[in-house]
């Protein structure tokens, strides 16, 4: 069956499902990543993120569904599909007894050939400099990650698949990595799929996220929209009954956390304050709260303690 692919969509997960030993790791996962986007795939450890990445790279065979890169099915035309993608894993495994450059030569031999000039350019870009000629066994975790970035960028992919790339990096390394990825998007229009459980990283980098829980997608949307869906105010006022009556008139809803009230999108905090004061309420404090990605994440995945079982 053929269907016309949307040229703006570079990665498409279509009804992916996968079980390991009868235990479901992915259940009917579907989402799309558009060209030039930085897309975050969020979830607890074991939620199915790495399985999804494995399917996108043709390393894991799905029980059902299909993954497409640039319109080409990974399951049916793997080599063609992967020509458009580069990948970085959480702990990239290199041949430690070879130099960084030799590792690039080996890996590039599987991607159509090694171009020494291009390699040196990328090595400079990722700040590996002369250390590229040292054995990888002497590299720090940060250097390994930069080498991983170099090997992923060398074939000049349109799509970068990153699996927990900043895990284990120091704050300086994380910032460098984040800035580098943002620059790649800005300067080359590169699309990035960012697989992570680090909310702050995703919040700072991604345009859109999909949240996965027990292999199922529970949220898919733009990050900027998350904060605007509702407006939460933290209010300290008395008498409480009088204040509650005001909240009701304004369409507000008290949240579980004490003093927090959620109002419909577009509610002006100044209007709330005026309404309370005019009703004779002693208003001691009124603070608008931004609904963070963490709030959304915890809301859709359950409590902070609600870790999923490993797949």
């Amino acid at each position: 069956m053929t269907r016309k692919a949307d040229p703006e969509v570079i990665l498409e997960a279509s009804h992916l499902s996968k079980s390991f030993g009868g235990k479901p790791a992915l259940r009917d996962l579907s989402f799309t990543v558009r060209r030039g986007e930085i897309f975050g795939l969020l979830g607890h450890n074991g939620a199915g993120k790495s399985t999804a990445l494995g399917i996108f790279l043709g390393m894991v065979e799905p029980d059902g569904g299909e993954a497409r890169i640039g319109g080409a099915s990974v399951q049916r035309r793997r080599a063609w599909a992967l020509r458009q993608a580069g990948a970085i894993f959480e702990s990239p495994a290199f041949y430690d007894y070879l130099s960084g450059m030799d590792n690039l030569k080996v890996l590039m031999s599987y991607s159509g050939g090694f171009d020494a000039e291009a390699a040196l350019r990328v090595v400079e870009e990722v700040n590996l400099g002369d250390r590229i000629h040292s054995r990888v066994s002497t590299y720090s975790h940060g250097m390994r990650q930069r080498l991983a970035l170099a090997q992923a960028l060398l074939p000049e992919p349109k799509l970068l698949l990153l699996d927990e790339p900043t895990d284990g990096l120091d704050p300086e390394g994380i910032k460098w990595f984040r800035d580098f990825i943002l620059r790649l998007r800005e300067e080359r229009g590169m699309t990035v799929l960012f697989n992570s459980h680090l909310l702050s990283e995703v919040e700072q980098m991604c345009d859109r996220v999909a949240i996965v829980r027990q292999g199922r997608k529970v949220y898919d949307g733009r990050l900027e929209g998350i904060a605007d869906e509702e407006m939460t105010l933290e209010i300290e006022a008395d008498p409480v009954e009088l204040a509650r009556a005001c909240y009701g008139r304004l369409g507000g809803r008290e949240l579980a956390e004490e003093g927090r009230v959620s109002f419909p999108e577009g509610t002006d905090p100044a209007v709330v304050a005026r309404e309370l004061v005019e009703a004779g309420v002693n208003l001691r404090r009124l603070t608008p709260l931004r609904r963070s990605l963490e709030d959304v994440y915890l809301e859709v995945t359950g409590s902070p303690e609600g870790k999923e079982e490993k797949s």
Binding site: M59, F89, A93, F94, D102, K105, Y110, S111, G113
Partner: protein, 278 residues
Amino acid sequence: MQLRSELRKLFARRRTYIGYGAFLILELVILWVFHLDKPREEMGKILSDAGLEVDHYYSALTVTYWMLGFSMAMLGAIYLALVSGDIVAKESEDGNLRMVLARPISRLRVLTIKYVAVLIYTLTFVWFVGVSGYLMSSIALGWDGGLFVWNYELRVFSFFPELTTGIGRLCLAMLLLSLSMCTLSSIGFAFSCLRIKPAAATILALSVLFVDSVLQMLPFMAPYKEHLLTHRMSNWVYVLENHVSWAKLAESYTALIGLDLTLFVLGWMAFRVRDFKT
């Protein structure tokens, strides 16, 4: 380019050379044994009983033949099983395979390159043992002399008085011995494709060889002996007969090459359906 990369990986590892080092030591030991009075006397007796001139046949070529047989049976199997058992399983265990499989290359191609690399390693290994053995023996005994071959099990008793004929036959023997050892490497390779530890792949390959050798020794297996793996693998000695039975050799090596290909296909079938995930 991909094969060169695979060979670069294989030959850049220090552990690859442990085998070469161990063989040089073993060859020195065999050479020392041949220098002892008792073996010298024994060999001299066999040669003189056959009416052959002892000094002429107690030579570098003869010692090289013994070195090849002994060292391959004793150590060669272990080292080749180690390397072939490692080739896929070690990269899978270390996570290198994920880096390779993230690239636009088919699994069949990845495996084919690795298999060819293992075969090249096997061939170079056997030839290294043969050539280094001859060089060492030449230093100890002189380069000249004939080739005397005696194998009680296979009923081979032959001699080649001329150096050039002896070298030619020994080269042919090394070629066939390499092919025989390729079968062991293929067994290790096939196990390496499974989802098991590299050490397990090596042990399984050696176990197959061990069980086969035990079967060969059992009296009731005598009628089937010719079909056993280790028997076929030892058929390289037949090329050292004065009158070579090419048909017998062709039959044996066709069977071995067929088995090698079957093992490769089995390995690929197992590898093809494997999931690679963190």
